[in-house]
């Protein structure tokens, strides 16, 4: 079995990559994808901890895995709404570069 630390480092890296992308990428669709990466890093955590606890306590602990299924569904819904929003933004601004969308400000 792969040690838990490896998984943790992996998911943390994934999370950081996603966060970095959200903070820096110009294209809103890429930003959206980066958010998905962040959510997925959490999903990896959930699945990994689920199996870890199952081993630790000797009984199968399904809640992490169930949680993952739900969060994947939620992420899908979020993408759908997100793309719709980007579409309507594109109609108004003729761009989806996030730094160009800034008439609302201080």
């Amino acid at each position: 079995m792969i040690p838990i630390e490896y998984w943790l480092i992996f998911s943390s890296l994934l999370f950081c990559i996603g966060a970095y992308g959200v903070l820096t990428r110009k294209n809103a669709i890429v930003v959206l994808m980066c958010i998905e990466i962040m959510l997925n890093s959490a999903n990896i955590n959930l699945v990994m901890f689920s199996s870890y606890h199952s081993v630790l306590h000797g009984v199968v602990d399904p809640s992490g895995q169930v949680f993952t299924l739900f969060s994947i569904a939620i992420a899908a819904a979020e993408v759908a709404v997100g793309l719709a929003i980007l579409l309507s933004v594109y109609r108004r601004y003729q761009t989806i570069e996030v730094d160009k969308i800034n008439i609302l400000r201080w």
């Binding site: 903070l23 996030v98 730094d99 800034n102 201080w106």
Partner: protein, 653 residues
């Protein structure tokens, strides 16, 4: 009768509801003045009955009917009533002055037209909440009414809100008094923290007083007095009161001379059981009072707006009351007598009558002439005989000429301050300031009277005496201003009566006969000092402003000129607030805004730069707005993590 005291505020409140809710045509005479007079008179009758009961020796202190407003665990927040001698004095003032002012308004506000309805509604609401304030039996209830009184004052100062000066004066009054209110609230919170209750019965009881540590008692009482500083326009928060004269004169008379501004004095007097635990606060109270009395009197010397003269005079007289309360506390603590306390209340009552009289007379003059500027008046005495005579009565009363009311109470106040000097020599200085104020008071009052009524008209106007509706209240008030001083000799005497409300704080409470009091007053050489000074003040005003041939331009030259300009600019205090204090708040806001905009954003950019060491990223971080928000989230998160791990008390590692 006492258990019905809660109904006193109900009368004006019902009038307020009727005036504001009934259809316009049913308001009939003067757009609701009838209802207003009815409401005020109803409260007056009930107040008189209650006062009669108190005179008969009954009080209701902590054992009155209550209703629970809120119960949380073991803490009860109740609404109740508290009627003692102090309450009775305030009730008398509010009831009499309130009713007379409302009657007077019937004539004064006649030309106001549609605004009258709003006027009467607001004034009824004011009277109602003022009664509520006076009969409150706990600090929280008092604070609620305190705020409502402030709100009414705000509305009434801004009554002519189309005038920018009125609107800004209203705002100023509201904000400045709010500064005091916050202190008041903070004081209440401290008391609540230690005692766990806010009603007077608990707070003033032995257990309540003992529960508060000494240094906290000083802080709490000083903060509560801070509320009084705001409301009673004491230095350094006094500048709102002259500006408040932008409201109708009736409002100035009722709220800003006779009743609301007394609320601060009332609060201080009400808190006496706490104040006497903190002599440091008492000294502070007295010093503030003395300084206020002197500063306000000096500014009144040069004011040319008749209402401003009266406003500064009000501040000055309120300073007297505060001074007397501070000195009185010392007397309670060290000399076991309530002399200063009752002197303050005595002056409070007398002042309410003669100052309301003066204001209403001023209103009558303004009504006739159409200006507030005394330089444009003159010679009105012949045309407005009743007004000029009643105003003369008021001026004599406030100047302290026996046997009018002002003489007796001012003498009591100064005597109390002088005898407190035995325990702290600072009181001698304050006494000297009081004496100087007495001299100036006599001077500026008669300056005002001569400038208004004597000599020849200095501008073109067609003055005529005001209608009966206005002159009758003037005459009633004039009689009161002449006679209210004799309360000192009625029955057990005012001093004994007022002292009753704090009698349990000290041991020796004995009453003096009228002859004793008289012998006391006229046997004291200091009485003659103040009498001579008052006379000199009047004579000086007579010489300068009545007799021809005095060249007043000497005031404009040299040192005198500089002094005069300083006085005309109100010692530059008002300017200080405008230039400095108000701007500081706004500047703080701008700084916070700029901080968010530049410092945090700058930090963000810096972080981005450090993180990636790339110029392109820096550029992007500057231009992308939403992402900047996300970056701030991350930065906040990191700071939080560092804080929790290393800085916070629970932090490990």
């Amino acid at each position: 009768m006492l258990e019905y005291a809660w109904m006193i505020p109900v009368f004006p409140f019902v009038a307020f509801l009727l005036i504001s809710l009934l259809p316009k045509r049913t308001l009939s005479w003067e757009d609701g003045a009838g209802y207003a007079i009815g409401g005020a008179a109803g409260a007056l009758v009930l107040s008189v009955l209650v006062i009669g009961d108190v005179l008969a020796g009954n009080t209701m202190v902590g054992d009155g009917p209550k209703f629970n407003w809120l119960v949380i665990a073991n803490i009860e927040v109740t609404f109740g009533i508290w009627v003692d001698q102090l309450t009775a004095v305030m009730l008398l003032v509010v009831a009499v002055v309130g009713t007379l002012v409302v009657i007077y308004s019937g004539g004064y506000m006649h030309e106001e037209g549609a605004g009258r309805r709003r006027y009467y509604a607001e004034i009824m609401l004011f009277i109602s909440v003022m009664y509520g304030l006076v009969i409150s039996d706990n600090y929280l209830q008092m604070f609620i009414f305190w705020e409502l009184v402030g709100l009414c004052s705000y509305l009434l100062i801004g009554f002519w809100y189309e005038k920018p000066s009125a609107a800004s004066a209203a705002k100023r009054a509201f904000i400045v008094t709010r500064v005091g209110d916050i202190m008041f609230m903070a004081g209440i919170i401290i008391l609540f923290k230690y005692v766990g209750a806010l009603d007077f019965a608990h707070l003033f009881g032995e257990e309540g007083v003992a529960a508060v540590p000494n240094d906290m008692m000083i802080l709490a009482t000083a903060l509560i007095f801070g509320g009084a500083i705001g409301k009673s326009a004491q230095f350094p928060l006094h500048e709102w009161l002259p500006d408040a004269m932008e409201g109708p004169t009736t409002v100035s008379a009722l709220i800003h001379a006779a009743t609301m501004v007394k609320a601060g004095v009332y609060l201080t007097a009400r808190s006496y059981p706490l104040l006497v635990q903190a002599p440091e606060t008492l000294l502070f109270v007295a010093a503030i009072g003395g300084v206020t009395a002197l500063i306000a009197a000096t500014v009144a010397l040069v004011a040319t707006d008749i209402k401003r003269v009266l406003a500064y005079s009000t501040i000055s007289q309120l300073g007297y009351m505060t001074l007397a309360l501070g000195a009185g506390g010392y007397l309670v603590v060290y000399a076991d007598t309530a002399g200063g306390y009752s002197a303050a209340l005595f002056h409070l009552m007398n002042h309410a009558f003669f100052k309301a009289l003066l204001f209403l007379c001023a209103g009558s003059v303004i009504h006739a002439v159409g200006t507030n500027d005394m330089r444009l008046m003159g010679g009105l005495g012949k045309k407005m005989r009743i007004t000029s005579l009643t105003m003369l009565v008021g001026a004599i009363a406030i100047a302290g000429v026996p046997p009018f009311s002002g003489f007796w109470s001012k003498d009591e106040v100064l005597a109390a301050v002088y005898s407190a000097g035995e325990f702290d020599s600072l009181f001698f200085l304050l006494w000297a300031m009081g004496i100087a104020t007495a001299f100036m008071t006599a001077f500026y009052m008669f300056r005002m009277w001569f400038m208004t009524f004597a000599g020849e008209p200095r501008s073109d106007y067609h003055a005529h005496e005001s209608p009966k509706l206005m002159t009758v209240p003037l005459m009633i008030l004039a009689v009161l201003a002449m006679s209210s001083g004799f309360a000192l000799f009625v029955g057990d005497g005012f001093g004994y009566f007022a002292g009753e409300s704090v009698a349990e704080l000290f041991g020796g409470h004995h009453h003096e006969s009228a002859a004793d009091i008289l012998a006391h007053i006229f046997g004291d050489p200091l009485t003659y000092v103040s009498l001579i000074l008052a006379t000199m003040g009047i004579l000086l005003a007579y010489k300068i402003y009545y007799l021809p041939g005095f060249d007043r331009s000497v005031f404009a030259r040299g040192v005198a000129g500089k002094l005069q300009r300083a006085l005309e600019n109100r010692w530059y205090i008002s300017q200080f607030y405008d230039d400095f204090a108000v701007k500081v708040v706004y500047a703080l806001s701008l700084v916070a805004d700029a901080f968010d905009r530049y410092v945090i954003d700058g930090m963000v950019n810096g972080f981005a730069f450090l993180g990636a060491r790339s110029g392109g990223l820096l550029r992007r971080a500057q231009s992308g707005n939403v992402q900047r928000y996300a970056v701030i989230i991350v930065v906040g998160l990191c700071l939080l993590l560092i804080f929790m791990l290393y800085v916070a008390p629970g932090g490990r590692w």
